[in-house]
């Protein structure tokens, strides 16, 4: 009986969470145009309860990684993920954020899942707003089912996340919080 009660409560909580996503757009490249189109009136991401981009990671629980991530940016992206409010979700927006896209070189991270745990990948170069809304609906489905990375970590199915810094940091640079 108690088990039934907690699972019902969890379901109600997840229902509330999936319709009040506060997104943080980490916009680095041309995908930002499609992000703006998705947020504007024609496609209107507000219909899905995610209309409020917060430009402070501490007030956000959904990280949109929009665009190419370079190795130099990667520590900043990780720090933003660490600063976000729990439970938090990550969407890789476009192929550059998902896999590095057509960049195969010395300075591009081959997918932001090398830095932060990604729940939904939206392909496209850049993706159309319909794809973004499709990805958002998929994320809402995962939140309702409790299968996002953070929810599985909280249930003990995933390790809490370890980050490695392969290269020693030099003085004068931001330290890594892990």
């Amino acid at each position: 009986m108690a088990e039934n009660y907690t699972s019902t409560l969890e379901s109600a909580l997840n229902w509330a969470r999936k319709y009040s996503l506060f997104s943080y757009p980490f916009v680095t490249a041309c995908c930002g145009m499609e992000y703006m189109a998705t947020a504007a009136s024609k496609y209107d991401i507000a219909r899905f309860g995610a209309e409020f981009p917060r430009f402070s990671p501490r007030q956000a629980d959904l990280l949109f990684v929009v665009g190419t991530i370079t190795e130099k940016q990667a520590p900043a992206l990780h720090r933003i993920w660490v600063q976000m409010a729990e439970p938090k979700y990550v969407v890789a927006f476009g192929v550059c954020a998902s896999t590095g896209g057509f960049y195969q070189n010395y300075n591009t991270v081959p997918g932001c899942d090398q830095i932060v745990p990604v729940d939904v990948y939206i392909p496209g170069c850049p993706p159309r707003p319909e794809q973004v809304l499709d990805g958002l609906i998929l994320l809402q489905k995962k939140i309702q089912e409790g299968t996002t990375w953070v929810q599985r970590r909280d249930r003990g199915e995933k390790h809490g996340g370890e980050w490695v810094t392969p290269r020693p940091r030099q003085p004068g640079h931001l330290p890594i919080i892990s």
Partner: protein
């Protein structure tokens, strides 16, 4: 348009010129690196090339001299353009090659010389602050050299997937 300027340069510094070529109004002089500062100072002072449009480098791996530093100049008065190339020798596994900095002539060269140092490892003697400008300080090597491995990455941070 600037063929006349090229001819004046050749007449003024005959010993500095390695070669010249002109094509469709596009004039280039290849000069010896030890004469760089005096030639550049004369080009700005006497011919009025007051605008350093671009400063970059090319790596001809396997050729001697291996590098070439390229200066694109423009005169805002006459509108003429001139390209100066400086061959820079570099031995395999030897010290970084060096050319004179032109910051004393065009202050705009500051960050462009830092970028050439960052990408090609060519030092500019006389530069006040020759640090990397695009890559991070932890980066080892110079990525636009032709012998830099295409797949080599030097990440600052990575998730450890083996923990999941």
């Amino acid at each position: 348009m600037s063929k006349a300027d090229l001819d004046k340069l050749v007449a003024q510094f005959p010993s500095a010129i390695v070669s010249t070529h002109s094509n469709c109004g596009d004039d280039t002089a290849v000069i010896r690196s030890e004469t760089l500062l005096s030639v550049m100072r004369w080009l700005k002072g006497s011919l009025g090339f007051d605008f350093l449009v671009d400063l970059t480098a090319v790596d001809f791996l396997g050729r001697d001299p291996r590098f070439e530093v390229v200066y694109h100049l423009r005169s805002m008065q006459s509108g003429s353009r001139l390209r100066i190339k400086v061959p820079v020798a570099c031995s395999e596994d030897g010290p970084n090659p060096a050319v004179d900095s032109v910051i004393s002539i065009w202050p705009a060269a500051n960050w462009q010389e830092r970028e050439v140092w960052d990408m090609f490892g060519i030092k500019f003697t006389g530069h006040p602050d020759l640090r990397r400008v695009l890559m991070y300080e932890e980066f080892v090597g110079h990525p636009l050299r032709k012998d830099y491995p295409k797949e080599k990455r030097q990440p600052l941070i990575r998730r450890d997937y083996s923990m999941e």
